[in-house]
Every structure is written in structure tokens, then in C-alpha cells.
Amino acid sequence: MTRNWHNPQRPTPAELAAWVEGELDAADAARVEAWLHEHPDDAADAEASSRLTSLFREYPPADPSPEAWKLTLAHVAARAAVPGTGNNRRPRWQALLLIGLAAAAAVLACVVATRALWPTQGGRVDERIAARPKLPPEDDNDEPFAVASAGEIDILQMDAKDAGRLMIGQLLEPFVIASSEDVELVNAEPGDEGMMPRLQKEPFPMVVVVRADKEP
């Protein structure tokens, strides 16, 4: 609260209230009393504020029942006590260290359990591709292969003509992503927008989807 610019000696309303309530230090109290000696009317507003404080003190909230006190104390005693060590608490750093170790152990247990239940293939993608069995060139592999499990797909709407292209099935074994080495470009036709397809020379993983109305 800023002082009155026109009369810096004039106490602020907050100072007047503090003086009425006996909360000013000696120096400030003397200054306010000197002012009020010349301007006694200025105390009226501060005294009204003090009566407001008294009103709240005169009408406090009703106390809870003895049973409510007893129950609250019982909860405090149960939560504030540390079993086995009286009521001494561990130093904060020890508590934090224990929490950190417990969290790390939980994470490690989750990782071990995950690897045990769902073993991964491991290795890089290209190594897995290189290790897969070569298919005979005549094998058109017209069986649909799953790109997602059945539980991951919700078909909301589809045209009948798309039924042959949308492959949904039960994944029986892990599928291997083909690489560009597995694909031989026999013929290329521009797409609807006149763009020619292009295969990069370096082998890289790719998924080839054969259109139902085209020869592979």
C-alpha cells in the first residue's frame, strides 16, 4: 500500500488499522498517534475495521463433536507414527534413496517379465531379412498376410471392391518384411497422376501390396 503522495506523513488505512490493533512497532505507532492527535476523525474507519475482526472472533465456527476430535486424532496418530522406529522419521535422503531403488527394481522386474512372456526377435531388420528363407520364384504367395492383428482393426465402412485388397487375418507366425532385393521390377506404368514408380538400388525394407486386379 503506497503512502499518500500529497501528505507523506498521513498514515495509510492499513497502518491505521494496525495501530488500532496494536500491531505497529514503536516508531510507526508514535507517528500514527501524532497524526491522530491532529486528525482524530481518521481513526473511525480503522476502528470499524477492528470491529470486523472482533465479529469474526466472537462468532467462530462451532466445534466438532468429541467423537470427531477423537477420530481425527486417531488418524493423525496412525499416519504420523513410524512403526519400529518410534516416531523418528528417516532422513529425507534415505527415504528418497529407498524410493528410487524400489522404483528401479519394479522397472527391472517389468522388463524381465515382458521379455519372458513376449520374446522379441532381436537383431536389426536387415539381418532378419537376410536370414529368411528364399521363396521359389514361381510362388505367387497369394495367401493374404496379416499387417495387423484382428483385434487391432475396426472396420466401420468399406466398399465391396476393396474387399480383395484389405487383408485381415490371424497372425500365425511373425512375418518378415521384404527388402528391395526381393523385388524385381518387371514393368512399370505411370500412376493416375502420371508419376512413374521408382525402386531405390540400395536394399531397404519395404512392404509390397499386390493389387488384386494386376499380375504380380
Binding site: P13, A14, T72, V76
Partner: protein
């Protein structure tokens, strides 16, 4: 006839009780709770507006104060420290649950209540006190959190300006300013009752 003077057992200080509590004496907790439960409850009730939430805040405040005594460090009195923790717990609870005041079944307006309060009817004194308490709580709800906390710590908990400043981690000047603006709002709400 010779007079027998019985010496009263010395009243343990808060520090002594805290030491006994740390050593596992449950009676020390009982005494600390007995000493400060009312002040803590009144602060919490004024901030939250209902008994159930206020008792939850009291419980939370006592637990936090007793389990984090390293934060106390004796820089203020235990009472100031405790009320700081209780009032902050109450404000947190109020933000989480929303301040829920006790709903009055009386459909009277505030003006009607004021008119009843001006009369000196002894038979209606019980209802008068309850109505005025509700009016005061409604007035407090017009304040911001910091204004309400500052005013309640001063008016209901009986802390000095300096102790309120310690409890709210502010200066005495800020306490004075917040009290001033809080009172302005309270007076505006309570209207004629204060002027009389």
C-alpha cells in the same frame, strides 16, 4: 494448621512435546493435538466452509507438520508452523474439492437475515448465531485465497501480524495490505450489520 502447597507439574513446552513424540510417546501427540486442534480447525473451517473438509485438512496438516519437522527448524513457533501447514492443506483441499459451504435450509435472503440480526430476541439467539456464522462464511468466500488465508490466520487463529507474515512467507507490509483489502471486501458484503 499448616498449609500444604502442592506444586503444579510444569507444563511441557512445544519443543519438549515434539521431542517426546519423536521418542514414541503417544501422550505427547495427544497434548499437542489438544493444544492446537481448535485453532487449526477454525482456520480450516473458515477456508473450506464445512466440518468434514475442515477435519480432513486438520488431519492432513498435523500429519505433515509432524512428519516434516526438518522443515520447521525452529524459525517460528510450532503453532505458527502448524497453522501454516494446516492453512495450506486447506487451500489445496479447497482447490481439489471446491469450497463447499454448508447449505442452509432457510430460504431467507441476506437482507432478511440482517434484519433479524438487528433485533434483540433472546428466544431466537441460537438461530441468530448460526445465521451470522453462515453470513460471515459467505463473506469470506468473496476473498481471494491469499486474502482469506491472511485474514483467517489473524482473526481466527489469533496470530500477530509478524506470525502471519511468517506463516505466509511474506512481509508484515504485505500482511497489512492484504488485511486492508480483505476488510474492505468483507465490509462491502456485510453492509449494514458492520456499520451498526
Amino acid at each position: 494448621m499448616s498449609a500444604v502447597t502442592l506444586a503444579c507439574p510444569p507444563v511441557p513446552s512445544d519443543d519438549e512435546l515434539l521431542g517426546r513424540f519423536a521418542a514414541g510417546q503417544s501422550a505427547a501427540l495427544d497434548e499437542l493435538f489438544r493444544r492446537y486442534r481448535q485453532a487449526a480447525y477454525r482456520v480450516a473451517f473458515r477456508l473450506l466452509g464445512n466440518e468434514a473438509d475442515a477435519l480432513d485438512a486438520v488431519q492432513e496438516g498435523f500429519v505433515k507438520a509432524l512428519t516434516h519437522l526438518n522443515g520447521f527448524q525452529g524459525r517460528s513457533s510450532f503453532k505458527t508452523w502448524l497453522l501454516r501447514v494446516v492453512s495450506n492443506a486447506a487451500l489445496d483441499l479447497g482447490r481439489a474439492r471446491g469450497r463447499r459451504e454448508t447449505v442452509s435450509l432457510d430460504t431467507s435472503t441476506a437482507a432478511d437475515v440482517n434484519e433479524r440480526l438487528l433485533s434483540a430476541d433472546e428466544s431466537g439467539l441460537g438461530l441468530e448465531r448460526a445465521d451470522l456464522r453462515r453470513l460471515l462464511d459467505q463473506a469470506l468466500s468473496t476473498l481471494s485465497d491469499v486474502q482469506r488465508q491472511t485474514f483467517v490466520l489473524y482473526a481466527d487463529a489469533g496470530l500477530s501480524y509478524r506470525e502471519v507474515a511468517e506463516a505466509t512467507s511474506t512481509s508484515i507490509g504485505t500482511v497489512m495490505s492484504r488485511l486492508y483489502y480483505a476488510r474492505q471486501k468483507l465490509r462491502a458484503f456485510l453492509g449494514e450489520r458492520i456499520e451498526s
